[in-house]
């Protein structure tokens, strides 16, 4: 399995999950991620795993809760409206500290919206679309290869921290095909002595739970969670930098937008304009260190999103508003072209744009 194959991003997620030892998939069809359940419905029976098409996204995330609580490596996937429906379940999964992978291949909204690519679920993914103040690790691939690699990483991190991990992609990366190498399973095998598997001689029952009726106990639980989140912040920030060292203008983009930004930077450099790219790979924890560093050397930042502006808040927070942070976005499935971005770059570097 270490030869390159041509795969859709969605398929790469599925095959990487199989390679990572995921043997339980629960999901519900929705464009543009339906290739994931479809692929799983083929593959799982072949590897002795379970593919179950749930009656809804709500049921799917709660099946994930059950399977994760029972000790399995498990995943679900959906797209924007379906992910909204999973918010209660995600909060429960985070509250009960259950490891699992949740994939959101974003489409345009709000509401039914459309089925074309978007990045307008950034807030939902990173700030907690569910209630109660939990955190998920959020990973944002920008290529089919990363779809596969971050899937494996996601399972590792989920088990390591006993926490849900969200893979946040967009319709473009989900639908596009690129060469990809599905690596051999490089995830850690983790013991799950806490799982509800039947007592089988164990003295005390294992309980999977997020209920703490006494306020002080719930606060203790939250404090434990916050400690864990601090640990994640310390260890799990991931990003990529391209041409940032001498850059006057730092483009900030994730997922497909980062790919387009890269093309735009090529054009800019050809035209003697010093633009660079800072690509957050972990959207939560948001990779603050490079922002702090680059806020010293660059003159401005330009956040690019397929939304009306969400990550820009984290960019401003990470840079402590030390330098102007500009924004350019498209919504509803419209995708910006490298040329569009280049024009924004020009406007800023030629000083025609107020902040």
């Amino acid at each position: 399995m270490s030869e390159k194959v041509l795969m859709k991003g969605n398929e790469a997620i599925a095959e990487a999950a199989v390679a990572a030892g995921c043997r339980h998939y629960f999901g519900y069809p929705i464009t543009p991620q339906t290739e994931i359940p479809e692929y799983m419905s083929k593959r799982m029976p072949q590897v002795g795993g379970v593919f179950l098409q749930a009656e809804s996204e709500v049921a799917a995330i709660n099946m994930v809760y059950g399977a994760a609580g029972a000790g399995a490596r498990v995943m679900t996937s959906s797209s924007s409206p379906g992910i909204s429906l999973k918010q209660e379940g995600i909060s429960y999964t985070a509250g009960a500290e259950l490891p699992c992978l949740i994939v959101n291949i974003m489409r345009g909204g709000p509401g039914l919206g459309g089925i074309q690519p978007a990045q307008s679920d950034y807030f939902q993914a990173t700030k907690g679309g569910g209630h109660g103040g939990y955190r998920n690790i959020v990973l944002a691939p920008n290529s089919v290869q990363e779809m596969a690699d971050l899937t494996m990483l996601g399972f590792s991190l989920a088990d390591q921290y006993r926490n849900p991990v969200m893979l946040l992609g967009d319709g473009v990366i989900g639908q596009m095909m690129e060469p990809v190498e599905i690596k051999e399973n490089n995830t850690r095998a983790v013991e799950k002595p806490w799982a509800a598997v039947g007592m089988h001689g164990r003295a005390k029952p294992n309980i999977i739970n997020s209920l703490y009726l006494k306020a002080n106990e719930l606060e203790d639980h939250n404090n434990r969670l916050q400690k864990k989140y601090a640990l994640m912040r310390g260890n799990e920030m991931r990003w990529e930098e391209i041409h940032t060292q001498d850059a006057e203008l730092i483009l900030v983009a994730y997922g497909i937008t980062a790919r387009i930004a890269q093309s735009a930077i090529d054009i800019a450099r050809e035209n003697g304009k010093k633009a660079g790219l800072l690509r957050p790979i972990s959207l939560w924890p948001f990779p603050e260190p490079p922002f702090v560093r680059l806020a010293k050397t660059a003159t401005a930042f330009l956040t690019l999103e397929l939304s009306a502006g969400q990550m820009i808040e984290d960019v401003r927070l990470a840079t402590r508003d030390a330098k102007p942070v500009y924004f350019y976005g498209r919504t509803g499935g419209m995708i910006m072209s490298p040329m569009e971005i280049y024009q924004e770059i020009t406007k800023i570097l030629d000083g025609k744009e107020g902040k």
Partner: protein, 181 residues
Amino acid sequence: MRHEIIMSGFGGQGVLLMGQILTYAGMLEEKHVSWIPSYGPEMRGGTANCSVIITEGLAGSPMVEEPTAAVVLNLPSLDKFEAAVRVNGVLIVNSSLIDKAVKRQDIKVYHVPVNDIAIELGNLKMANMVALGALIAAIDAVEMEVLFTAFAKKFASKPQVIEANKAAINRGYDYVKKSLN
């Protein structure tokens, strides 16, 4: 050369597969490649299209806005993509179904009766492969041998179809090469 190609036609005409095989070939030549389909309900009964990038440089954005080459297998596709083709770019027109004249003067246009050729070869379903051959003749994006390998790999489980399709690709290729003379 960075090839940015759009292939477009009716839902059943196999344009997505055609794009995948080209992309596969590009991958076998160790180029940077990407393929992306249009998707959604407009596929139903309407047109389908895909964008293919084959390049030795940066992969970058997989979206194609100004194709260096376009293959249009039906009239709506011509209407949709004629204007987008880059100056000096290539347009392969399925003349079996499209009798509308192409207006652009600043691009290279090849009229190929891919349906007729495919029917002549005994299977209308191979029209897409005829078109693929024609495209390669026009833009030389990959080696023909590699294209055959790509097809063979993709259809490894159905070896019986390989030869016929190879013939279809060749026929398309020859048709364009001949017109180049």
